[in-house]
């Protein structure tokens, strides 16, 4: 029960001849809201996809909830996947389903709930992400960018995950929507006791959502700590990322 939610040990990734990660370690404790930041091409999304199990690292191991990601049969792997929810950058809603069926899909896949309960659950999830019941019948193509993210979040939360992984949760949203979406994630995260790990470029998002920050640079986790601790470090990437004029404005705004 007290094992770290995510534990990455000595992870290395190679694409062709290029090493993306080298001997990377990271441990995320239960209930943390962790921001994963790093320059373009530093392998943030790759690391996220490895945690989900979409990519396998060249070396090293990832454990979620103290269990290895792979092995132990289909049933165990599936049970483990159901404990995490993922919000993809572009939502990845099934375009052939309407909003209701998108959220109901993982619940129906369980094959253990009756349709009336699924209906109530979907409506509850819609309310949680601040959408209205009439939105349930829309098709993904008819949704605005912000609504796509909300529906995708509702779908990620459908199976009551303990860990939520977000890839650029506010990319493509205007500042207003981005603020309200971040607020929503924070509220839900606290209320449902979720562990949240998100990749971001956006300092506003980072400042208002993250309890800790993991900096991915030089092929490893360069630093892991609260925002204030990170900002005290002297490293060219951190200076550029946090201490530029633009960043200072965002952080002052977020606090």
């Amino acid at each position: 029960m007290n094992a770290p939610v995510i534990r990455i040990r000595n992870l290395s990734t190679r694409f062709g001849t290029v090493w993306i990660h080298r001997h990377l370690d990271l441990e995320v404790a239960r209930g943390e809201h962790v921001a994963l930041v790093g320059g373009s091409g530093s392998g943030k999304t790759t690391l996220l996809r490895q945690m989900i199990g979409l990519l396998t690292p060249t070396e090293g191991e990832i454990r979620l909830f103290g269990e290895p990601l792979f092995g132990g049969g289909v049933a165990r792997e599936r049970a483990l996947r159901q404990r995490l929810g993922v919000l993809f950058q572009h939502g990845a809603l099934f375009s052939a389903f309407n909003v209701f069926d998108n959220i109901a899909f993982p619940l129906r896949e369980l094959k253990l709930l009756d349709e009336a309960l699924i209906h109530d659950l979907v409506m509850l999830k819609l309310e949680m992400v601040e959408l209205l019941p009439r939105h349930a019948l829309l098709m993904p193509a008819e949704l605005s960018g912000g609504m796509v993210k909300r529906v995708a979040l509702a779908r990620a939360l459908a199976l009551e995950p303990e860990l939520l992984l977000l890839d650029e949760p506010t990319a493509g949203l205007d500042p207003d929507r981005s603020d309200s979406f971040v607020r929503l994630i924070r509220t839900l995260g606290n209320e449902l006791g979720l562990t949240v790990l998100f990749v971001t470029h956006d300092l506003d998002t980072l400042a208002s959502l993250a309890s800790r920050v993991a900096v991915l640079a030089e092929q490893r986790i360069l630093a892991y700590g609260s925002i204030d601790e990170i900002m005290r470090l002297d490293h060219p990437f951190i200076r550029n990322f946090f201490l530029s004029e633009r960043s200072q404005r965002a952080l002052a705004h977020g606090h």
Binding site: L110, L112, D120, L124, K125, L159, L192
Partner: protein, 375 residues
Amino acid sequence: MTGPAFVKQPGDGAPPVLKLSGAWTLRSLAKAGRDWQARFTQSAAGGGFSWNCLDIEALDSAGALLIWRAWGRRRPDTLLIRPEHARIFERIAAAEQEPAAPVVPRSPFESLIVLGAWMLGLVRHGRDFLILLGQLVLDLLHLVRHPADIPKREISANIYKSGVRAMPVTALVGFLIGVVLSYLSSLQLRQFGADLFIVNILGLGLIRELGPVLVAVLVAGRSGSAMTAQLGTMRVTEEIDALATMGVPRSLRLIFPKVVALGLAMPLLVLWTTALALAGGMVAAQVQLDIGHGFFLETLPKAVPVANLWIGLAKGVVFGIAIALIACHFGLRVAPNTESLSANTTASVVSAITVVILLDAIFAIATRGIGMPKL
């Protein structure tokens, strides 16, 4: 963590108590199974219980909803519950306040509306196709005046993709059809002693009729579907819009080259496939009827007037243009979702083959006096 459990305790005069314990989460409920859920709902039916939820170890919205439904969708009068769990029920109660989506009543003229929508869809198809055709004519006029704008590279690439790359498969299919046709015909002809007519049957049938239609079906399945899928994906990823913003007209750069290329490549493919089908027929005729290759080739021009070859090639041109037009028409109708892409690709291939057969029938009527051998 233990699974969900409930116990009914008699209340000694007071209402009986339902005591819930264990984990009431989606996972544990799913593990307990549907029968267990039904049993719980049944036990709680009728109401009038006093509820004790203090021993619930874990509760999520799925578990809470199941309990909420057992409560009859309202908080029971006597309830013992931990505050953190009570919050979940408050959320559910708040969600119920939201007005449900209004149910649109079914119109009594439903079938008429469906029929009308279908007809309007058909009209829209016709109009879009006409616009596509008109745009191509305008493009053609533009290119006559500005020959420098002719998209030569695109045309060449399309000829290679839909013509050259289709040669192996059309050759294989053509050769085998020739063998089969010759073999089956020879079995019948031998019974009447009319062995020599194998040349007439194969020559006329393949050159005038079967060759063009066979190639058209293969090309519609191979290149037509590819064109629809390509244009459809370009629409989904907004590439077509990007082209338009750079001032590159989409019809001139994307559709015109496909139509021209298939119009040029198809007659050549027809020639190639027909030749191989005749070769297949020739081989089978020698094996079955002992008709030598020399004799076969010598008799062919006498049995089949050369007009048939021109008809076959003309069919190739017309079929090629029709397939490309239909493929582009459906490709431009793709809406940005996966379902629409697959539906339009299917519709493209099916319509292309149907139209080819229709055109073939028109050809048959229009050319009924041309190219028939005089016996």
